[in-house]
Structure formats: C-alpha cells, structure tokens
Amino acid sequence: MVPLRLVTKNLAKHKLRFALTVCSLAIAIFLLCVLRSLVVALNAGVAAASANRVIVQSKVSLFVYLPQSYGPKLDMVQGVESIVRWNWFGGYYQDPSNFFAQFATDGKELFEVYPELEIVDGSAEDFLRDRKACLVGEETALKYGKKVGDTFPIIGTIFARLDGQPWDFQIAGIYRPKKATLDSTTLFFHYEFLEKSLESGATTGPGGVGIFVLKLAPGVDPVAVMSEVDAMFENGPQVVQATTEAEFQAQFVSMVGNVPMFVSSIGGGVMLAILLAALNTMLMSAREQTRDVGVLKALGFTDGSVFGILLAQGLVLCGTGGVLGILLAKISEPGMTRMLSSMFPGYQVTGGTVMEAAGATLAIGLLSGIAPALRARGLSVINALRAVR
C-alpha cells in the first residue's frame, strides 16, 4: 500500500527544490533527445541505403577524381543496369555562410538510379530539357525563398568561373526525397554543363569524376560486381574502391570523425550528471522524511510500503522532468530541423528516440529512488522515530 497523496505532497513540500530538479531533468532529457536525433540523422543514410546500388570511388580518397574513361567501362560490367556520375561542386549562395551541398550529375540517369527522388514542383522534363537547369531540395528552396523559374546564382569554389561571376542555375524543379538516402537540401545540376564550361576554358577545376553510382539489375549479387570493378582497375591509372551504398554512407559519416560515438558520450555524461543531481535531491528528501518513515511503520505500514513510497517519489520526480523534456524535444522539432538542415539534414525526433528518452527517465527514476528507498526499508521504527525533523 503506497499512499500516493503522501508521495506527491512530500515532493511538493519544497517547491523550489522540486521545480529546479524537474527543470534540470527536463533539460537533460531534452538534450538527450536532440543528441540522439543528431546521431539518427547522421546514420539515416546508412539505414535507408539501397542494396542494389554500388558506389565506385578512388581507393586513395573520396577527394581524388576518377578518369572520365571509367564510365563506359563500368557500364559494360555484367549486371549494371544504369550508371550516374556525381561531382561535388562545393559552392555557396551569396555568402560562404550560405553553404549547402551541390552536385553535378547526369540528369536522366539520376532519375533512373534514384527513384526515391520525387519532384514536388516543376518537372523532370523541364530539368532534362535545359542544360543550365537545376533541381533544388525543398528545404533549401524554402530557406532561400526560391521557386521554380527562379535563377539560383551559386559562387563556385572548386569550379570558379574565370569572369568572377556566379553560376546561374535555373530552377526547373523542387524535389523531396522519399528515402533518407538523399536529403532535401541539395542542388543537382547537369554534369554536361560543368563539362562544357571546363572544356571552353570559362571555368577552372578538375576534370574527372568524383564518384560513379551503379544501379544493379534485380537479383544481381553486389559482391560479385564490386569484385569485378575492383579487379578491372587494379592496375590504374586510378585504383578504385567499390562499396555498397550502406558502406559508403557509413564511411562518409566516419569522415567527420566518430560523431555518433562523440555525441553518445556527451549524452552519457549528461545522463550521469543528472542522475547524481536527482539522487542528491532524493537523498535529502528521504533524510527529511526519516521520522515520517518511523510513524508509518508504527502505524502498520510494512518495510515494503515505505520502500514503495520513496521509490515512487523518485519515479514521479524524474517522470515529470522526463515527460517535460520529451515534450520540449517534440515541440522544438520543426525549429531544430530548420536550424540544423545544412549540417544534419533529416533531423527528427523519432519514436525510437522518444522510447530511449523514456527508458533513460525510468532508469534515472529507479536509480535515484532506490538508494533512499532501501535506507528507509532498513530503518528500525525506534531509530526512525528518534530522528530529528
């Protein structure tokens, strides 16, 4: 028998202490949700990776370009259905702080290899018709107030124009990815446009290809294709590394350091700190209730009942903070998504994250409540009644 009114009233006895502890817990759980969502966003590409796509890059580094001549050879590999080139453009809009991803790619093949790319405004036909056209992710379009038909001037850094002018891309379509393999912040334009500019000498920059993405025919074993590709260019001129899309995405995430591990460590530290704070509050509260414990036991409440009262106080205290923290994370989700769109596209507080936060809240509640609860359970009535209130 646990008198719930006693549980809540004991917690509310020191209102300021209760409020401060709940606020600390809410902030910690909010931070946990945010950090976890960042990790989820980073790994979203890995989780959603397609099994029938193979990425071919230089074995030396992602920043070493492959010869154009590799394209036709890769196209001849048994099981390859389609092939698309990707080149990192690395430009910015108006100011270097307005940075987002841009890629030169093969327009028609892009839609074949990435069926998850959905045009929500404009059309693929318009994009394919105009060499200067581009597709823009809806988040970027929204962020910079761009719509179909607008010009999107991008200042090149790797591929700078000799006349010092920006690249004027015409927006032919706004896209929304149906899977996390693509994000909604990227700008795609025609590889051919880049190629012609380089050939004409209007632009400086490397002439190779960043990566080739191969789409495999249904039922084709990607391992066999990757082995064949690796063997094909074993003797150069540029040795390649063929990987599955999942491996490539994972490698890409690890390029910025072990961010998931780093972020998880911060989250763990925050949880430990808040556990100690909650434990301290509960121990103080339990010490103040020592005499009450004696009274309850004298009235006939069992050791188990007083254990339950103290444990319930820990759970209610942490539960209140945890629920507030989770609510805060959900309420701030749209704002955070916009704010983090360039660094962490696809940021969202998933059901899994909410469950993890709820689990952490429960664990903190149990751990902070169990020490004072055990102490109260072990107190003799006589000793408890002697305690000074």
Binding site: R5, L6, A12, R291, D292, G294, A298, L299, G300, L385
Partner: protein, 233 residues
C-alpha cells in the same frame, strides 16, 4: 490481556551491555488504564515499545490479546500493529505535509474501507476530539494541544483494542495536557480501550486506574490500583 513473562531487553552502548528490562513479569487486564512511571532509564518506554510491537525483546514472552508477539516477524508485527494498537507520541509525530484529515485517514489505508468510508471515519474521529473544524489544517497550523488531539484521533480511528501513549502530555501546557488526558480517559471509559501511558507527570498518572512503578535496572516496583481523579485545572 497483556502478559509479560521473563522479558529481558539489553542495549549495547560504547561496548558495554546495558540491561534495560531484567526478566520482567507483568499482567495488565483488558480495558484498564495504566500509567507507567519511574525514573529515567527504568525501561518505561522500552516496555511500551515491546508491548506495542515496535521492538523485539531479547528473551521472554509478551502475550497480547492471546498472541505471543515476541515470536512474530516484521511483516506479521506490522499487520498486528495496524489492527490492534494505536500510538500517541510525545512529539505528536503527525506527517507535516498532510492535513489533519489526511493524517487521521493514514492508518485506514491499511484497511479494506472504501475511500468514502475512510473519509467518513476520519471525520468522525476528528469530531470526537473536537477538531472537526480543523480538518483541512496542516500540523504547522495547529497548536500543540490540537496536534496531540489529532494524533489521538489517528490512534483510535481504526478501533484498536489498545492505545499506547508515550509521554502524551510532555510537550503540552497544563490546560492542553488535561484535554488530552480527558480524551484518553473517555476512550478508556466509553469505548473500552486499554490505555498504557508512560509519564513522568504525577498529575497525569492520577487520571489512570493503575500506576505501574518501574525501578532503575528494569525491574518492576509496586502496582498501585486506584480510583482515577478528575482533572485539576
């Protein structure tokens, strides 16, 4: 109703064993009002704690209402206390965060009464001690005498056979002390409760029907049977 045979209790303090009760034999009949008196260290409170099942004796037999409570384990004793005993302490020992009504309702949570019944029982108990109008007050909003009356209401609200009071008037002025003692007398006379009261106060002891004198070293002195005196204000 209360039968003690060879009850011994000792504490170890500073490495030395201190015998508080030494092979004590005592009989107290049902429906009596006993005052336990004696010098400090004579084992009055220890005896009260043993009879109330708050502590265990080292040796001997404590039979209360036909049950040997010295043989009971923790949970059995807790259940027994909830059913058979009401406690009144010197420092009142009300739960400070609960109202008078909630404090009195607390032991009723261990019964099978419905919420409404618990509420009604507590209300009646408070009415009986004259504090019906203070039901919503917390202990800090009551005087010492009122707090002790709430504690008495809490002690008898479950209708136990026995009420054990440890210096119930120790922290009260004379007027409040007499109110509290009158309540205990009433519970004894009108409701047939067995009252066992530890006190240093001779005037308080005069209200009892028998005075059990304890002696230093935890042995029993004389038992004085007497006609209780009315309150002297």
């Amino acid at each position: 109703m209360i039968r003690l045979r060879g009850v011994t209790k000792a504490y170890t303090r500073g490495g030395e064993e201190l015998v508080v009760l030494d092979r004590l034999d005592l009989d107290m009949e049902e429906g009596g009002f006993f005052a336990l008196m004696g010098p400090s260290g004579s084992g009055k409170t220890t005896l009260l704690n043993l009879i109330g099942g708050l502590d265990h004796c080292d040796a001997g037999q404590i039979v209360v209402d036909g049950e040997d409570i010295a043989r009971m384990n923790g949970p059995e004793l807790a259940a027994w206390r909830a059913e058979k005993v009401g406690f009144v302490f010197q420092g009142f020992n009300l739960i400070p965060v609960l109202t008078a009504q909630e404090n009195v309702e607390l032991p009723l949570l261990l019964t099978n009464l419905s919420r409404r019944e618990r509420h009604e029982h507590a209300r009646l108990a408070l009415e009986l001690v004259g504090l019906d109008d203070r039901r919503g007050h917390r202990p800090s909003q009551l005087s010492g005498g009122q707090e002790q009356r709430v504690a008495i209401a809490r002690a008898f609200v479950t209708d136990p056979k026995m009420i054990l009071a440890d210096e119930p008037t120790g922290d009260l002025d004379r007027k409040s002390a007499d109110d509290v003692l009158s309540l205990l007398v009433r519970l004894n006379r009108e409701f047939g409760k067995t009252i066992l009261m530890v006190t240093h106060d001779a005037q308080a002891a005069e209200r009892a029907r028998a005075i059990v004198h304890m002696e230093k070293g935890g042995t029993l002195g004389r038992i004085e049977r007497r006609e209780p005196q009315p309150a002297k204000v």
